[in-house]
């Protein structure tokens, strides 16, 4: 483990400590299903259950031909400039992973981080942390991919982008990809 990694890992850790208390830039819209849907029919146990011949009401009829316009949506395709921040639950799992990494238990850390990834799948930090854990377990290929994934979600957050590019540069250099490392460093410098 060379010191450069420790440097970027430290900067990442410091960054994540901030992330927890940073104000969240508008999260993705969560759409509840609105009340409890009616119960689905019990699984059929035997044949001979009379099938109800339900027919779509006209208003629900999905047609192959030109359907009547549904209520016009004012929205155009959605996008966001900033990535999503971490929830406290995800952050607590990342802290656990950090402790495990400090004890040298990389696979335990990866298990915690995968839990965090499931509950915060669109936050760049989780992927950068995964990258760090893979560096610790000497799997630089996976580490590089997770860094790229994190970068694809970092959005316009210059600080996060910069941390990601520097991490990528370190990993690429360790893998012997000097040109790729230089390129990543230029990206970081340009921010």
């Amino acid at each position: 483990m060379n010191t450069r990694f420790l440097m970027s890992a430290a900067s990442m850790a410091a960054f994540l400590a901030l992330a927890g208390c940073a104000s969240s830039p508008g999260e993705s819209i969560y759409v509840p299903i609105g009340g409890d849907a009616p119960r689905a029919p019990e699984p059929p146990r035997t044949t001979g259950e009379a099938e109800q011949s339900t027919v779509w009401r006209k208003s629900e009829q999905p047609e192959a031909s030109e359907p009547a316009e549904p209520s016009p949506r004012s929205t155009s395709p959605s996008y966001r400039d900033s990535g999503e921040s971490l929830s406290p639950a995800a952050l607590s799992l990342i802290r656990e992973a950090d402790n495990l990494l400090a004890q040298g238990d990389a696979s335990g850390a990866i298990a915690r981080l995968e839990r965090a990834q499931r509950i915060a799948p669109r936050s760049a930090e989780v992927y950068f942390k995964l990258s760090e854990a893979y560096v610790a377990s000497n799997n630089l290929g996976a580490a590089e991919q997770f860094t790229l994934k994190g970068l694809s979600l970092a959005g316009n957050d210059a600080q996060l982008q910069r941390a990601g590019w520097l991490l990528l540069a370190d990993i690429r250099r360790a893998r012997g990809n000097v040109a790729g490392a230089d390129q990543a460093e230029q990206r970081a410098a340009a921010l």
Binding site: I29, P32, A40, P62, S71
Partner: protein, 776 residues
């Protein structure tokens, strides 16, 4: 060990008085030697047979199935789940409604829950016992707190057990234990096949004679002479030849079995081994599987007439096959019912009622009693693909899967509820469907439906129905083009105009649009969102069929892809799971994530066999994928997918693509939200025509599913190197937000139009624009 091939014969001393006194000493010497050799051979042979039969028997006894678990539910502030969904999860995981203070109980009042967990040993550590309280409001967990036990902002409930499988077997067996079998079954079995089972020592010479008499009296075979033990031995070494030698071997082995094992063990093994039918290359062994196979029911739920039918089939499973020869099977069944009555197992009233019932076999054969057969099927395949067979032989493994019961429930409901509404009459009967749901960013398979009857383990369409994907291929054609930003952008005009291709061998190919219209020049984003065929083929030919094929392969398609131009209209066949794999990369801005159903496998002591880690692999430029996602969102808002919003709330931003093949033989829809990717297929098993398109068949199934799961809308982060601009695509120019024909479109840096058109939008419209949103 080599064995001699001479038939072992028990040495019999039969003193014979020979008149030839002179030869006597020589003759006896010879005779004793011969007898001694025979005896040694027999003993050796018996020892050999003993080894064979005990190893065989041991391998079949008390096999402990692997326990398969759903994913554990994670509870924390902000977790997305409805109160009904949480209650179902709790019940599946074995929680009982109660006071919420004893471990394993919960209390619910409206959206308020108090849950007492039992604690669980997960592969990555122990989850301690806790008492939790939370409220569910707007389908989200709030006010989460740990009332007692170790404090934590996030807690995993113990996972629901969703099935048991025998991973080292090629097929699922349904092993039963004697104590869980209805007592009537072994009793009937003995009454019909082996009345003295508990008294004989493996073979019963008397019963052979009695059986012959009974058969003569009845004028047909009603009883067999072999004991159950002999039949079991016969089942172990399934050969049909009934030579005297084999019969001898069977007899010896039967006696040996009886010497080694208790009657109950032999009976239990018999119940699990007996051959009861054939399905293609697969043999149906054991009453547990036979019960599923013929009745689609669990053995413990069988009624008198069903038990009688199965016992009757022991005699000749193909001769008495109730699906093929219902009358013959019925007759045989009623004979067995009479035997039951005669033996005093049932009274005459029950017997008469049972005789009056139809054969009652299920329409389609089922092979499993697992609640989620299609999903478990995929788990089995992943086990075989990713684990060493010798590791899987260990008994009592614990398999932690990624199945999300709430989502599986919604997926099954969407299929069963929608399919009958899509057609009427014969087509309705014939319509089938499959639905695959994955977690967008992790590639975990959350739910799988393999047919219109999701509980039924038969043909698994999600994995085995390979069908042409039609227009589902188009996003990959345009992605290949948009990866060349110097040549293609979302507003590049593409030609919607027919043409013909001449092949070297003189054949002509003339693709057509679905509506047979032609629109001339259209912007690329519209060509994709409205799924026009002609521009897709033109663009595909322009970037090259080989390049499109490489894109598909990069996105995880491993099956063969033809290089004929017709592949550009989706002539390439795939199953729904492969389509999900391919769309995973589109849904995650260009990262291929292998689909997984297994998180971990541990041995009974909790030691992990090996871990499946999350993997990602960048296979496309995120900038180009972002552009394709834009057009796929447009599909939902203005294009072929817009009818989804009849069912779905308009706040839920989605992206997707329809697919239809000739004559509506296949109707596809693949699409994703912020959290989920789902692929739906609707069609007929006989590949017959329907009146459906992707939008009228698969899309309603997909939308109904999406409408029942609380989730985040899609809002992709703009990747580095992409900027949004107001453009006028007709003029290929940048423009102002309030001009007519202005559209906000993402462009890869450097590919923006270099002209700008201003417009004389009316003052009123400009003023409206400035204050838009102020007064809402």
């Amino acid at each position: 060990m080599k064995k001699s091939n001479s038939s072992p014969r028990s040495p019999r001393k039969t003193p014979r008085k020979s008149s030839r006194n002179g030869r006597r000493p020589w003759f006896w010497r010879f005779f004793f030697r011969f007898a001694a050799i025979g005896f040694v051979l027999l003993v050796g042979w018996t020892v050999y047979l003993d080894a064979v039969i005990t190893s065989r028997f041991e391998g079949r006894r008390f096999e402990v199935p692997s326990r398969v678990y759903a994913r554990p539910l994670e509870l924390y502030d902000g977790a997305g789940i409805s109160s009904g969904g949480l209650e179902r999860e709790l019940q599946l995981a074995g929680f009982r409604k109660g006071d919420g203070s004893r471990a394993g109980t919960y209390r619910r009042s409206g959206g308020h829950f108090v849950i007492s967990t039992r604690g669980f040993q997960f592969p990555d550590g122990r989850e301690p016992k806790r008492r939790l309280a939370l409220n569910i409001y707007g389908d989200r967990v709030q006010d989460f707190s740990v009332l007692s036990g170790e404090a934590s902002p996030i807690v995993r409930l113990e996972p629901a057990q969703i099935g048991g499988i025998y991973p080292s077997h090629k097929e699922d067996r349904i092993l039963v234990q004697l104590e869980e079998v209805p007592a009537l079954l072994p009793a009937t079995l003995m009454a019909v096949e082996d009345r003295n089972f508990y008294d004989h020592f493996g073979i019963a010479p008397l019963s052979i004679a009695r059986a012959m008499l009974a058969n003569i009296r009845a004028g047909e075979i009603v009883q067999g002479g072999s004991t159950l033990t002999q039949q079991l031995v016969k089942n172990f070494f399934l050969t049909r030849d009934q030579t005297l030698l084999r019969k001898g071997n069977e007899a010896i082995m039967s006696i040996l079995l009886e010497m080694h094992y208790e009657k109950e063990d032999i009976l239990e093994t018999y119940l699990n081994e007996v051959y009861l039918g054939q399905a293609g290359t697969r043999s149906i062994n054991g009453f547990g599987l036979a019960s599923q196979f013929y009745f689609g029911e669990s053995l413990k739920d069988l009624d008198v007439h069903q038990i009688a039918l199965l016992v009757g089939m022991v005699k000749g499973p193909s001769y008495y096959n109730p699906r093929r020869h219902p009358d013959r099977a019925m007759e045989r069944r009623n004979l067995v019912i009479s035997e039951m009555e005669e033996a005093g197992l049932i009274d005459s009233v029950r017997a008469a009622r049972a005789r009056g019932l139809p054969v009652g076999v299920s329409g389609k054969p089922s092979y499993s009693e697992n609640r989620y057969p299609a999903y478990i099927d995929l788990v089995r395949r992943h086990l075989a693909r990713d684990y060493r067979e010798e590791d899987l032989r260990s008994e009592g493994l614990r398999i932690f899967t990624t199945l999300n019961p709430a989502i599986q429930y919604a997926a099954e409901y969407a299929v069963t509820d929608t399919l009958p509404r899509l057609a009427s009459g014969e087509t309705r009967e014939a319509l089938e469907a499959a639905l695959v749901v994955t977690a967008k960013d992790s590639g975990e398979v959350l739910a799988l439906v393999g047919g219109k009857d999701p509980q039924f383990a038969g043909f698994n369409r999600a994995l085995d129905a390979n069908r042409p994907i039609g227009s589902l291929i188009k996003p990959f054609i345009y992605l290949s083009a948009l990866e060349q930003p110097e040549r293609y952008t979302l507003i590049t005009p593409v030609l919607d105009k027919s043409f013909a291709l001449e092949f070297d061998d003189g054949r002509r190919w003339e693709p057509k649009n679905y509506d047979t219209k032609e629109r001339g020049e259209v912007p690329l984003h519209e060509a994709l969102s409205h799924s026009y065929n002609l521009p897709a083929v033109r663009v595909g030919l322009d970037v090259g069929v080989g390049v499109v094929k490489e894109t598909l392969q990069a996105f995880g398609v491993t099956s063969g892809i033809s290089e004929y131009p017709s592949m550009l209209l989706g002539s390439v066949s795939m199953n729904p799971v492969t389509v999900a794999q391919m769309y995973q990369g589109l849904a995650t801005s260009g990262f291929n994530t292998p689909l997984r159903t297994i998180r971990e496998v541990t041995d009974p002591k909790g030691e992990a066999l090996s871990r499946y880690s999350l993997e990602v692999d960048q296979v496309a430029d995120p900038a180009a994928v972002h552009l394709v996602q834009y057009a796929m969102q447009e599909t939902m808002q203005e294009g072929t997918g817009r009818s989804a919003y009849y069912t779905l709330p308009k706040e839920l931003a989605l992206a997707g693509k329809t697919g239809t093949t000739d004559d509506g033989r296949d109707s596809w829809f693949a699409g994703f939200s912020g959290d989920l990717l789902a692929v739906a297929w609707v069609g007929r098993d006989d590949n017959g025509p329907t009146s459906l398109t992707g939008a009228s068949g698969a899309l309603p199934v997909w939308s109904r599913f999406m409408a029942r799961v609380p989730q985040h809308g899609l809002s992709p982060v703009v990747p580095d190197g992409v900027n949004y601009h107001w453009v006028n695509s007709e003029r290929q120019a940048l423009t102002d937000e309030y001009c007519d024909n202005a559209r906000l479109v993402p462009m890869i840096a450097g590919s923006e139009p270099d002209q700008t058109v201003s417009c004389s939008g009316t003052l009123q419209r400009r003023i409206q624009g400035w204050f838009e949103g102020f007064f809402q």
